[in-house]
Assembly symmetry: C2
Homo-oligomer: 708 residues x 2
């Protein structure tokens, strides 16, 4: 599948999504896609002309058809193309001649089928570029612009089409319909839904760019199989963050990239999926794990915007629900703080005697007797100074109530209390069932806010909203320092730099490294040991030698000249025996105690330099316990990454180790990351393993650098 690399301009995107007239080329009663597209445009109230083009049939969809675009005889803004694969290019040619700038190509059979299809697809791209055309697809169902009521979309749109704040972009045709149906069932209004197809020209990032500018869109929801243009994605994600518009993404497909850094341990730690996690975190993209969470989280964020903090007050009519919410809150990192004394006192006045006044609050089954109990309690809890937001558990009616007016009155009163509350109120239903027609009516007529669908998914969404809000509050990170620094590099940057060269590179560039001396002769080794202080460690050095411990090239606990002499002799003999050149040993003082970290930087083919930090030993080898960050990463980000490690408690002094000075550790690790960036595109990987931490003393004991 070919992929465009140039962003499509803003004006072209606007023209694509807001045509005044549309021609359906290849329209026929025999095609479900044609029928759907035509019906959709009619049902959504598209006000411009819809021309049908079919060279062989006079009447299509009950309307006179034209034999060609040319025969339409009046200006057309957009062509929706359903002709056979090989005929698509000629439609573009004809359209270009007539001044038609925008195209949606539903036709399949291109890059997704093989080399011949790919060739046809590239022809289309070349032609479109050469003639200033904008092409969405091919192999995509088109789009639904619900804001404008423009729906050139090849699958049925079940009524009602609800306009609203969520823009949806999908790399899947079939699931677009599912998400559309689900959004409707949640009464989540959409601004635009786009089924991308092959992204030959218009790509996901182009549509995001458009949605960032689109005043109707408050939240962007993505379904992506792969991020095809990571750099562009990063750019538009940053734009969205600056505009305060959250991007919520369901990124699927966990096939792992081939390990691209065989020399470094880090390679195995950097799975495709984990890098995507790191990238999304860096860019403030909210990652969700199911189709349901995609819409429910997007809907919630459209309602709440940023949430001030993670302290949540909970108001429900059910003790069971309170416990379900408490369990889920813990999992999502939310806290349910005790109510302030004033809140407790006020609640006691309202609630029946047998109610237990606590957070989460169960106002009891007496809501059956007094329907206002819940919203009066809400009013009080929303005044509590100790909470950042309030969850109100409330179901919309599913069936038309006996007395609709009474129901509307009740929901209107509650809606008013929610609007006037001093903290944001998040309404959630108990379980995930559809908001039915009467539910939508109540929301519309009572001005009742968004209802997150079911405690389970609502809590996922609230957790995501709180984390996103925190990201938003953090100071913006620099995008990159690459090319800024001028690192000291003393040798030719090719191949593998084993310990002695790698250590020098680190030391030259401000990373603390254990003292060491290179010894070619036994005497040099002994002199170095005396100089550094016994006991010492002696390590094998030779050209191109990577993992020296695999060949027994590390000798520990050498406590005198004879031991050093013997070790040097043996190690060098072994290296010579293997036919290696540049043979020597590296002498270092032996270190004891502390906690060993691994810091590895690799170049991810998609996202660029990625840093893994982890604890050494079993932590990495058995547990794969590491945290990833895309570079650049400042010390604050590094501290957060260290905090994510399962073994984080070791750094805090568990098992009697000296507590690490985490500020110092983060500073050194960040320095390693900056160095990796400064080393430029020639760097393939840089690994410090171990980085020894003893209190505030942090030093690299070993390192490996690979150039490409």
């Amino acid at each position: 599948m070919s992929t465009a690399t140039t962003p499509v301009g803003t004006e072209a995107m606007h023209a694509l999504f807001a045509p005044g007239s549309i021609a359906l080329v290849g329209a026929t009663d025999k095609s479900g896609w044609s029928v759907s597209t035509f019906d959709n445009l009619r049902a959504s109230g598209f006000s411009g002309p819809v021309h049908l083009v079919n060279p062989r049939t006079e009447v299509v969809h009950g309307q006179c058809a034209h034999r060609s675009l040319t025969e339409i005889g009046e200006p057309v803004d957009m062509a929706y193309v359903m002709v056979p694969t090989t005929a698509v290019l000629s439609v573009l040619r004809e359209g270009a001649g007539l001044g038609i700038r925008s195209y949606v190509v539903l036709t399949a059979g291109f890059g997704e089928t093989g080399p011949e299809g790919l060739r046809l697809e590239e022809e289309i791209l070349d032609f479109a570029r050469g003639h200033g055309l904008t092409v969405l697809g091919p192999n995509g169902n088109g789009y639904i612009n619900a804001t404008a009521g423009t729906t050139p979309y090849g699958l049925p749109i079940p009524p009602p089409l609800i306009g609203g704040p969520v823009g949806v972009v999908l790399q899947s045709g079939a699931l677009a319909s599912s998400l559309l149906g689900f959004a409707q069932a949640r009464n989540v209004g959409l601004s635009l839904l786009t089924s991308m197809g092959n992204e030959t020209m218009v790509s996901v990032t182009d549509v995001i760019d458009y949605l960032v500018d689109d005043p109707a869109t408050k939240v962007i929801a993505l379904f992506v199989e792969s991020v095809r243009r990571p750099r562009e994605f990063a750019r538009v994600a940053r734009r969205a963050a600056r505009a305060g518009k959250p991007i919520v993404a369901l990124k699927i497909g966990s096939s792992s990239l081939a390990s691209h850094t065989a020399q470094a341990h880090t390679g195995a730690l950097v799975g495709d999926d984990a890098v995507v996690d790191a990238a999304f975190r860096k860019l403030g993209v909210v990652r969700v794990r199911s189709l349901e969470d995609l819409i429910i989280t997007a809907g919630l964020l459209a309602q709440t915007g940023p949430v001030r903090g993670r302290r949540i007050g909970v108001v429900t009519p059910s003790g069971g629900a309170c416990e379900v919410i408490a369990d889920r809150a813990e999992q999502e990192g939310l806290t349910l703080p005790p109510f302030a004394p004033g809140t407790v006192a006020r609640l006691k006045e309202i609630l029946p005697d047998f109610a237990t006044v606590q957070n989460p609050l169960d106002v009891t089954g007496y809501v059956v007797v007094d329907r206002t109990l819940l919203s009066r309690a809400l009013e009080v809890v929303a005044d509590d100074p100790g909470v950042d937001a309030v969850i109100l558990l409330s179901d919309l009616p599913r069936l038309p109530p006996a007395d609709l007016a009474l129901t509307l009155e009740h929901f209107t009163a509650t809606a008013r209390r929610i609007r006037e509350a001093r903290r944001p109120v998040i309404v959630t239903s108990n379980v995930l069932t559809d908001i039915t027609e009467v539910g939508r009516q109540v929301q519309r007529e009572a001005g009742f806010p968004y209802v997150a669908g079911g405690i389970e998914h609502a809590m996922t969404a609230i957790g995501a909203a709180v984390r996103w809000s925190r990201t938003l509050r953090e100071s913006p990170r620099p995008e990159s320092v690459a090319g800024v620094g001028a690192p000291v590099v003393r040798a030719e940057t090719t191949g593998v730099w084993a310990e002695h060269r790698a250590a020098r590179l680190l030391a030259d560039n401000g990373v603390p490294v254990v003292p060491s001396a290179l010894a070619v002769t036994e005497d040099e080794a002994v002199a170095a040991a005396a100089d550094l202080g016994y006991p010492v460690v002696l390590k094998a050095v030779a050209d191109g030698l990577g993992h020296k411990s695999d060949i027994g090239g590390v000798r520990l606990g050498l406590d005198g000249p004879e031991a050093v002499r013997e070790a040097h002799r043996e190690v060098c003999a072994d290296l010579h025996g293997r036919g290696l050149s540049g043979v020597a040993t590296l002498v270092q003082p032996e270190r004891h105690g502390g906690v060993e970290l691994l810091v590895g930087v690799v170049r991810d083919p998609a996202w660029g330099l990625t840093m893994a930090v982890g604890l050494g030993g079993v932590w990495v080898e058995v547990l794969r316990d590491s945290a990833l960050r895309l570079l650049p990463a400042d010390p604050e980000e590094i501290r957060a990454a260290l905090g994510e490690l399962r073994g984080a408690r070791l750094l805090e002094g568990a098992r009697g180790t000296e507590p690490a000075d985490l500020d110092r550790v983060a500073e050194v690790v960040a320095r390693i990351g900056r160095l990796a960036e400064e080393l430029g595109p020639g760097l393939e990987s840089l690994e410090v393993n171990p980085l020894l931490v003893r209190g505030s003393e942090v030093e690299a004991l070993d390192a490996l650098v690979t150039w490409n």
Copy 2:
């Protein structure tokens, strides 16, 4: 809250759930509960008489009311009691005199409110027991017997009430309505739904017992806040398993029990929630984590029964959905094996050229052109010898289709292919939206099977079904060996037995223990060391001394007589200095290498003896990496538990350790468990830490036993 301890008899439960006539005592137009109960009985078509009792009103709910139960003047099978709290007992008195055996008490204000309420509740229990009455509640909304159409239930039941195979038992009133609504939205039929209330007499386990016998019930769904009678629960869960009826449970509330074994490390590992996990696993109870999963999983198990294995074929009309399913399958431990060559060949004949024939299968968007594509592909995949079950992704219509007959024809054909398929077929929809009226009609009229709601929850349910099926296939475990064995015990079983006594106990009862000798004098210590072989370890011994390492009471690496002498002198002096009696040292040969395990048994107040196994060191101290099993646990269960550990790979020889003989390890650990059981109720905890594993050599290096 008082809790009954005696199971209610089968006949009494049948009488409770199948009354021929019902009296609503305390019926009034002013109470929503009364209105709902009356309306429910009428709407569900309860065929017997419904008498209303109100001493002060002549007409209630448009029907003549009686002043008292007595005034009804004809036999009544069940009284539904809604009178004030203090009047409940007199209703029971009157009813008992009239021969009314069954009661549902909706009235609240009992044990849940405090001591006075508890006293009233106990009075009711005493009276009911004394007079052979059956009482459900108080403080519960009653039940819905959908099989019989008998619905004495105090909250609205939204139509339609769908009868079916799932029995629901809830320790929550408010959530019962949510689950009812959700089951309806999933078109999952219920046999019985019971809102338990305070479980004064009839408890969750009584209802489970009833459901195990109930021919209409195939699956039991539980919502529980606490398992109030664990022993009874275990008994009925085993009955359910024998009957092949899965129990699916949402157990909420993660408040942790106080650590009840301060002397043993194990205490901290045994959280309330983890023990529930272990208990449910042992009993074959499927634990789910959300209200949605409770119903969706129960509905699935009712449809499929046991599933043969975890190899799943997937048939969808969407590439995106395939990837979502593949991601989730991996998380659930399901495999999607490649199709057999014969399957591939047959699929290629059916599918369009551009389709990729693989598992998971996307039959492509050409389903729009040929609606039979999906079910014809299903037929082929269900023949594949390498799969145990097939997932078919298919949505029911949500809105009435233009041509209902055509739709019914299509679904009827698909339903036939599903029925005739050679592997069980699990139908799942893309997203979790309601099955609407037309969807229910299609299922009913086309005989279309259960549709699991949305890929996300469906995959959770399939994973649970596969795991439950595996449990069912395993040979039944013995319920307990307690009291069977007669262990050798050489001292008084009180207080804390530190190492030397605990080690003797283990050795006497078939657990391999490192050789050791108790030394009171220096000479004895030296003689013992010579006997055992240098280097040795020397450990402090004194009456009541628990964690000796905390006081520096362990000396390692003693490589000669002088070192032993000095260490013995120092250790004993220190112990005397602390005013301890029974001072001595324990001499052992020093062991090196291997993997250290921790094996701890504690007595959980609810579930009894519970064993934790884990790796020692950081694994336990930092990671809390342990796996729990309820005792008795056979070697096979122990092996499974060891396999769950994050550090499991260490036992397999990661990091250069000798691979452990897992059969031997499991045998020794199981022996420790059996010993704990044989020691009887006097045992509070037993901990072996470490149990050293070197290949097939397994021996306890230290142990601690606490008696209560």
